[in-house]
């Protein structure tokens, strides 16, 4: 009870606290449904209790703020309900509709004790928020952006965003490695957590890394699986969805969950749902390409064969036509030839007959002419013979006379010539006698011999030489005493 001190009524703190407690408990008898944004859950693992910070904002400004209590037992019950309904645990930053009792404790002051939270409300709110993000992406014109990026004919080089040890990643690898056509893929892991509060930033960081080497890849694939369906709200995050939508190469998702399609999956080039299906899709693209190539090969082969066959058929037809034309021409020609031959034979026969007749006539004419000619010639020959005999007689007679004259002429001339020659001969005999060496020696000349050879010049002889001198009546042997040369040579 209050006491009076110096005319004043004074209350102890406890009395005030109890008064407030009484007033509040009188005023707020039941529990109330309250909506607020839970900016922080403040879950203490050790005690298991939570002390959520609740706010109400208007135009971004906090206009009301209170702290609430969520005791361990209540928290566990509510959290389980949330996981079932939202596939998300109770966490920071969600809007909640909760049932609370307003109380006042002298030690702790005013408090909101949370008894229950309506998961459906939060779900609806998240859905509303999701729709708002989709609407925003559409307004910004980027919602379909990644779907319009050109997919290469063969998505062969894959930048994989996943967790190295995850089942989804291993399923994906196994599937693309074991395809029955031996298609080859190249994939490179960009590791990232794929769920929970840190996933948004981690995935965005890996997308940015891929962008640096984007020329090395055909597609990016976000592959997840085996991690349960909890904590996938990151895929409804505006920043991540925007990054995926604006990615320069196709982004394919195989996140593997059974909840509603997330925004990231919506804006991706293709949502394959599971890692295995994603691998199947890639193999399918390869297979389609193979089929197209095979079809082209078949078309080329068949068309080529058809064209060749067609050409052969045309050629054969031409040959046939040519043969038949040739045969016709041949038949026609042979008939003409035959007729021609017949005409020629007939003609020849006529010619022969005419010619025979001509020949016969000519022969008869010739015989007649020859007979006549022979008779004429016989007469002429007689006349000629008589003429020749007479001519010959005169000729022989003339020649005999000329011969006799010549003979007598020749005798006279020969006699005169013999006489002249005899006189010349006698004269010559006299001259020869005068020139005989013996006669010369007799006239006082001598011949000197040296070694049996005549000396014709004084230079042949030297003092002491033995000389033999021939002169008329004998030979003189002498020795040369000396030699006197005359001046004249």
């Amino acid at each position: 009870m209050s006491e009076i001190i110096q005319d004043r009524q004074v209350f102890s703190l406890l009395e005030v606290a109890r008064s407030i407690q009484k007033t509040i408990s009188d005023r707020y008898k039941s529990s109330y449904w309250i909506k607020a944004e839970m900016i922080r859950l403040n879950h203490y693992k050790h005690s298991g209790h939570c002390y959520p910070d609740l706010v109400e904002k208007r135009n971004g400004t906090v206009i009301a703020q209170m702290r609430a209590n969520l005791w361990k037992k209540d928290y566990e019950r509510i959290s389980k309900k949330f996981l079932e309904t939202l596939k998300e645990p109770l966490k920071d930053g969600i809007k909640i509709l909760f049932l609370a009792k307003i109380s006042f404790e002298p030690v702790h002051g005013i408090s909101l004790r949370i008894l229950d939270i309506d998961a459906g409300y939060t779900l609806g709110d998240l859905e509303k928020e999701k729709q708002a993000i989709i609407e925003r992406l559409r307004k910004e014109g980027i919602f379909d952006r990644n779907k319009r990026v050109k997919m290469p004919l063969l998505p062969q080089r894959i930048a994989v965003i996943s967790v190295e040890t995850s089942k989804g990643y291993s399923d994906f690898q196994k599937k693309i490695a074991d395809n029955p056509w031996n298609f080859r893929f190249f994939h490179f892991l960009f590791p990232s957590v794929l769920q929970g509060d840190h996933a948004v930033a981690a995935i965005i960081a890996q997308l940015k890394r891929i962008k640096k080497v984007v020329n090395r890849f055909d597609i990016a694939a976000i592959v997840r699986g085996g991690g349960g369906d909890v904590g996938l709200s990151c895929y409804n995050d505006y920043r991540l969805a925007r990054e995926v939508a604006l990615f320069p190469i196709p982004v394919l998702t195989g996140i593997g969950h059974s909840t509603n399609e997330t925004i990231v999956e919506m804006v991706a080039y293709r949502n394959a749902i599971t890692p295995t299906d994603l691998a199947d899709y890639l193999i399918h693209r390869f297979h389609e390409f193979l089929l197209l190539v095979q079809k082209s090969a078949r078309t080329v082969r068949e068309s080529a064969l058809r064209m060749a066959a067609e050409e052969r058929r045309k050629l054969q037809a031409e040959v046939k036509l040519l043969n038949s034309a040739a045969r016709n021409v041949s038949i026609k020609n042979s008939a003409e030839l035959k007729a021609c031959m017949e005409r020629m034979t007939q003609h020849g026969r006529f010619i022969c007959r005419d010619e025979n007749q001509n020949i016969r006539q000519a022969r008869m004419a010739l015989e007649r002419a020859a007979t006549k000619l022979i008779a004429n010639n016989r007469m002429l020959a007689g006349q000629h013979a008589r003429l020749i005999v007479r001519e010959a007689y005169f000729f022989l007679r003339d020649n005999a006379q000329r011969l006799t004259a010549a003979q007598s002429n020749l005798s006279a001339k020969s006699l005169a010539m013999i006489r002249e020659n005899h006189a010349a001969l006698v004269n010559a005999g006299r001259n020869v006698d005068n020139m005989d060496p013996k006669n010369v020696l007799k006239r006082g000349f001598s011949i000197s011999l040296l070694n049996g050879r005549p000396v014709v010049h004084v230079d042949q002889v030297k003092a002491g030489d033995a000389l033999i001198t021939l002169t008329s009546g004998g030979a003189i042997e002498s020795k040369v005493e000396s030699i006197n040369k005359t001046d004249t040579p």
Partner: protein, 68 residues
């Protein structure tokens, strides 16, 4: 096949040849050449399906060079 045609170019050229052949735009004289060319192109496409020549080290190097 000295020219280094990539598979996409090879496939495109192949489709052109197929279209020409199907439309009968090719003479018998040119057919042989076209068929030979098509065979080369088909080989390029099929080879691509079964092989990759990507280099992990090169990608790592490029990531490093870009400031990691």
């Amino acid at each position: 096949m000295s020219e280094s045609l990539n598979y996409a170019e090879a496939f495109e050229e192949l489709q052109i040849i197929v279209a020409e052949i199907e439309k009968g735009e090719i003479t018998v004289d040119a057919l042989s050449e076209k068929v030979k060319r098509a065979a080369q192109l088909i080989k390029i496409c099929k080879t691509k399906l079964a092989s990759t020549d990507e280099d992990v080290n090169q990608i790592l190097k490029e990531l490093e060079e870009s400031g990691e």
